[in-house]
Symmetry: D2
Subunit: 286 residues, 4 copies
Amino acid sequence: MRFKLGCSLAYEVKEPTTFIFNVEVAQLRSLDIASESLTLAPDLARRVYVTPDLKNRYLGVNVQPGPFSLEYKAEVELTVVRADPETISETPVSELPLDILPFLLPSRFVSSDRLAAFAEAEFGHLPKGHRRVNAICNWIHDNIAYQRGASDGETTADESLLKRAGVCRDFAHLGAAFCRALGIPARFVSCYAYGLVPSDFHAVFEAYLDGRWWLFDATRQAHLDGLVRIGIGRDAAEIAFATPYGEMQSTGMEIRIDRADGGPEPAERTVDAISTEEPAPHAGAV
Amino acid sequence: MRFKLGCSLAYEVKEPTTFIFNVEVAQLRSLDIASESLTLAPDLARRVYVTPDLKNRYLGVNVQPGPFSLEYKAEVELTVVRADPETISETPVSELPLDILPFLLPSRFVSSDRLAAFAEAEFGHLPKGHRRVNAICNWIHDNIAYQRGASDGETTADESLLKRAGVCRDFAHLGAAFCRALGIPARFVSCYAYGLVPSDFHAVFEAYLDGRWWLFDATRQAHLDGLVRIGIGRDAAEIAFATPYGEMQSTGMEIRIDRADGGPEPAERTVDAISTEEPAPHAGAV
Amino acid sequence: MRFKLGCSLAYEVKEPTTFIFNVEVAQLRSLDIASESLTLAPDLARRVYVTPDLKNRYLGVNVQPGPFSLEYKAEVELTVVRADPETISETPVSELPLDILPFLLPSRFVSSDRLAAFAEAEFGHLPKGHRRVNAICNWIHDNIAYQRGASDGETTADESLLKRAGVCRDFAHLGAAFCRALGIPARFVSCYAYGLVPSDFHAVFEAYLDGRWWLFDATRQAHLDGLVRIGIGRDAAEIAFATPYGEMQSTGMEIRIDRADGGPEPAERTVDAISTEEPAPHAGAV
Amino acid sequence: MRFKLGCSLAYEVKEPTTFIFNVEVAQLRSLDIASESLTLAPDLARRVYVTPDLKNRYLGVNVQPGPFSLEYKAEVELTVVRADPETISETPVSELPLDILPFLLPSRFVSSDRLAAFAEAEFGHLPKGHRRVNAICNWIHDNIAYQRGASDGETTADESLLKRAGVCRDFAHLGAAFCRALGIPARFVSCYAYGLVPSDFHAVFEAYLDGRWWLFDATRQAHLDGLVRIGIGRDAAEIAFATPYGEMQSTGMEIRIDRADGGPEPAERTVDAISTEEPAPHAGAV
């Protein structure tokens, strides 16, 4: 599918502030960027960094006090891989590529070590594979209330589980935590999400099953085949859309994503398993 | 300095278990590996992975039930960079290379976000630079008791601060957490440590100051110029010397490091600032 | 039923230590103490305190270094009140006696405030009354593993819920926490428990329903009509069987309870609702 | 000193709600209530409960939806006991009356067990007595920022210590936690506080030293000899000025306290040790 997407971010900066943005779509083979522009006002010097492995694109800007804004626009063609969920098995730890192992470890907000017993008790006995991760998402959807204001920037997966409430960030952390606790590598994904109402940056997670990464959205709020990736991280800390070092205030924020191919709206959400990431080459791993 | 070092690890494996080891010294330009051997008994197939950025060396082995052991030996020449601590300033966030920013973020055990106010109150007013990180180490050394059994594998930096006790792992987590909370990138380092009594794997941390990484050991138990690096990570989760997936029991563990150059013992510990890591090229960062 | 019960506690005291014991059965109208003896060796001065409201009996002893032991024996006749669980409704907060309200509040280990959403989501929709508290016990029994060593003296109800494991103390804390979170007063009860294997001090909880306190044991390990009460508290902190202020070591501990009426063993555990506490007069409350 | 004091509380009640208020001054011998009135609008039925031991006065009201308000006025003569702080020693645990021991235990917000090592490290070596508790207050005053919004109704003493910020409730919890951790009984006190700007309900704590309870205010915001007690509790949970069970909104709140004896303002705050509580008779304790 083809999408037009972008965001407008505005700030009132109070003191010299370094911003790290991660709002540009990732440079993936599965994502063809037809056109793209990023405008800063005022037009300040940019520092750019693309992570070698995951292709996250970071933009660093040092901003003086005053109003500051960023405008990003892109048109992209997203190719997804579809599969029958029933055919996707789990990869045992003994066969996992070693470069994937970091995504089995607990991280700041994906406190999988603290949820080991809970995950085992709820999901340990379920049939393995894509269906088990789907069952985890169903459980989260049924047991955690989607509730703005229920969490803040320090909320961990175990806290969300106790509070039985959170936003997309927390749903993704909890899903990833249950997976890691069960020996399934999982990572946090930020994205533009087609079909999300109201429009906003979205967070989902990917689980590594049967040799590749598959997308899961425990909030059930967006189309899995309409998620255009921005960044991948161990958790939300690594791929915040904006990380400001300095005092400032957000004065505006708008996120957009629309179909650009004139195609008809999908009648229903797909129940296929969806992957947008090509299998990594694992050059370093033998 | 030249060192002979190594370790012997023995296990009784109860069920098919995948071990990930990280005990080999890192492949650094500052660390010349004269000779090296790693033996497994039984001699099982090995999977090897060297992280592209940090050069950590991971070894994966799938082990069947029964006794299992690993023996590692190396002779290395360690070259350190020395500097007068007074001359080492802090790098403001506005000038930090973007690839270093992950080491400013909170991680599972380096809960720097929860320690922001504490760090600011205790260390925010101190003169910046190497001396400030040294002051942090002094504070930890004076206020946290080195106490075996005070922590476990889930203990975070904020918990160690409350308990006022920990082991080298916790001292390094807390030092790194205070640094990150103050805007100083910091990372966790595992190593063979010359002078450590009793001999064991050791953990210290590095802070990024004035364009390179400098070593700090808040436990004050080893020689800073005798730390032979194994791994670098956000925190202990990433570079455990052994991560077993399966039921097993440790039945023996011995860690060795000795001078191999016949050189006289250093009369006193250096008060120089010590760095063993060459400045990274930051090829990806502009 | 008539019981012979008691305990033997032995210590090696390292420095002058004040012990507070709470091992004597409570002075209740429902509990007729036929005979009783408490011996200390050496035979030190005793300080005694009976709480005016709940009739817990505390014994204070100041002990010098050396061996120290306590031996308690009693023969008691326990009268319980039985009712059909279906007939026991909940008392709305608007009708609760004010002196009972403290047992609606969170306490150190009964962290009902942190479990409010969890309790509401799992149990909020269930039919109210004795059957709802019984459903809470069933849920705990089915979802929390009884596991020695899973908790320590600082473990709270929310931590036990995450760890999905605990001992009788934790089961009682969690049951009480869910009740308080739902507006049902609940308190922690220590007791001699007929039928418990292996014999030990036991902990259960009481919920206030329909005008009186009813016993619940989420571990399902003892006979509800064979629980001989020692103490009542907000949680375990208030009624530890021994609270030592000073360095000492436990060198022996034995707890006993047997039928003393020659009556036949009950074929099955009762499914009646059981209460051993007379309705309090609430003299102070209007 | 003689004071006129009171409060006005207004609510918009959304559903049938039971309120428990604790705003009336305590019935103490040291506090002569010259006149007093409490008005409810609408004038609903009242349930009243005075705790037998501490003389807290609770008022229960069942309110229907609509506006609801409470107006309380009193004129009281407060007699305080003064002493030279240097003369006030600590009472060793071996000599503490047993009925005071509950105030040595951790409670929901006074997490003294989690602060044991911290308290010992910071204050364990200090000269004992009133001066040690005063040193604790100085430490809190110097190290914790008084900051509205820094805490909420679930914040514990250890969390305030990490955040280095709180309000009067948190200062009192932390002071009490350090005391209990050191073996000094301590309790939470709510009061009308002469000199507090802006006027509000205030929270302080009392420590049991040398046979009686002494007042401490780590915020240093009010006159110690102008604290008119409302309630005493293990912590804030037990003596909230208003505990509503039901949905409602606070629409107004005003707290007043003024000198009523025409006496001149005190030039400075007293540095005497201040106690307002007569020594309890400990009738039950031997």
